[in-house]
């Protein structure tokens, strides 16, 4: 599996990964799918950071491949567990690097905001539904108490939902040639569009097959 993006940054080691993965994929059967999932992530991280994070993940991969070839011949029990653990560590490392990257990009972006944009961003981050009211609402529906995690999850989802509606309504508003304070007609059209995409849950209308 030749990854052109991966071959570029580190020249000396390029032949080894090209060989090893093909051999190890032959020996892997169950973790084969997870192996393929980690490949695209590796390509992404290498294209983003030119060789900075490549060497540790590459050496871990080589060690894994080398370990597989050695153990595969002797016994079958240690390899699967070792494979899974090393893959998990690789994934964690890549995720960590991707997070750091994203944090840096966000910092650069926020530092270049105008004052109005900063205000809006602050409101975007801070606005939240009051946990007490959400808890009361859910408990009035279920009749029994709910855990704190449920309240946290529900208020988070409700905020994302509100955001989806407002964004769609802003699209509608722009499309109809109107200006920002959103009017009810924009909101209703936004809901209609989201409903057709099934993003607004609705179990009131009974769908009859072959009506």
């Amino acid at each position: 599996m030749a990854d052109p993006a991966r071959v570029k940054p580190v020249v000396g080691v390029s032949e080894a990964p090209a060989e090893r993965p093909t051999q190890s994929e032959g020996s892997r059967d169950a973790p084969g799918s997870s192996g393929k999932v980690s490949e695209p992530a590796a390509v992404q991280s290498t294209t983003r950071e030119q060789g900075k994070a490549v060497s540790p993940s590459r050496s871990a991969e080589e060690a894994a491949a080398a370990g597989e070839e050695e153990d595969g011949s002797s016994s079958l029990h240690p390899p699967p567990a070792k494979k899974l653990k090393v893959e998990h560590d690789k994934k964690k490392e890549k995720r960590h690097k991707v997070d750091e990257d994203e944090i840096q990009k966000m910092q650069v972006l926020v530092s270049s905001f105008s004052e109005e944009q900063l205000n809006r961003y602050e409101m975007y981050r801070r606005a939240a539904f009051p946990k007490a009211a959400i808890k009361r609402l859910i408990q009035s529906i279920t009749g029994s108490s709910v855990s704190q995690n449920v309240v946290i999850a529900m208020s988070g989802i409700a905020k994302v939902f509100a955001g989806e509606i407002v964004e769609e309504a802003l699209d509608v508003c722009e499309k109809w040639g109107d200006t920002p304070p959103l009017q009810p007609k924009h909101m209703r059209e936004a809901v209609r569009r989201l409903k057709s995409r099934e993003q607004v849950p609705n179990t009131k209308h009974k769908k009859i097959l072959f009506h």
Partner: protein
Amino acid sequence: MAEEEDDPGFDEDLDDGGNGVDSGQGKRKRLFSKELRCMMYGFGDDQNPYTESVDILEDLVIEFITEMTHRAMSIGRQGRVQVEDIVFLIRKDPRKFARVKDLLTMNEELKKARKAFDEANYGS
């Protein structure tokens, strides 16, 4: 229950904030007016959004929460709402799913940090 979007006289006749008059949802007090205004500004609306729009959004959010709660009660352990049920219901929507995972992970981390901090204080 009549949906607000289908009720024609709802928005046109309403001049005041919609508190005294029967505004389509019964005489329920507005629960999230302040927070929703800030939220709408954060998501891109004007700094002073229309009250009618805020009302519509509040009704939609309450309907959404009600719907999710009913669905969560009907799956998993019946009659109770648990986090796993919510995560299961949300699985097809990538944004909400990622958000819930992030929130729960961050909550766990904060709890651990608080616990470690308290233990450190207790020790000294």
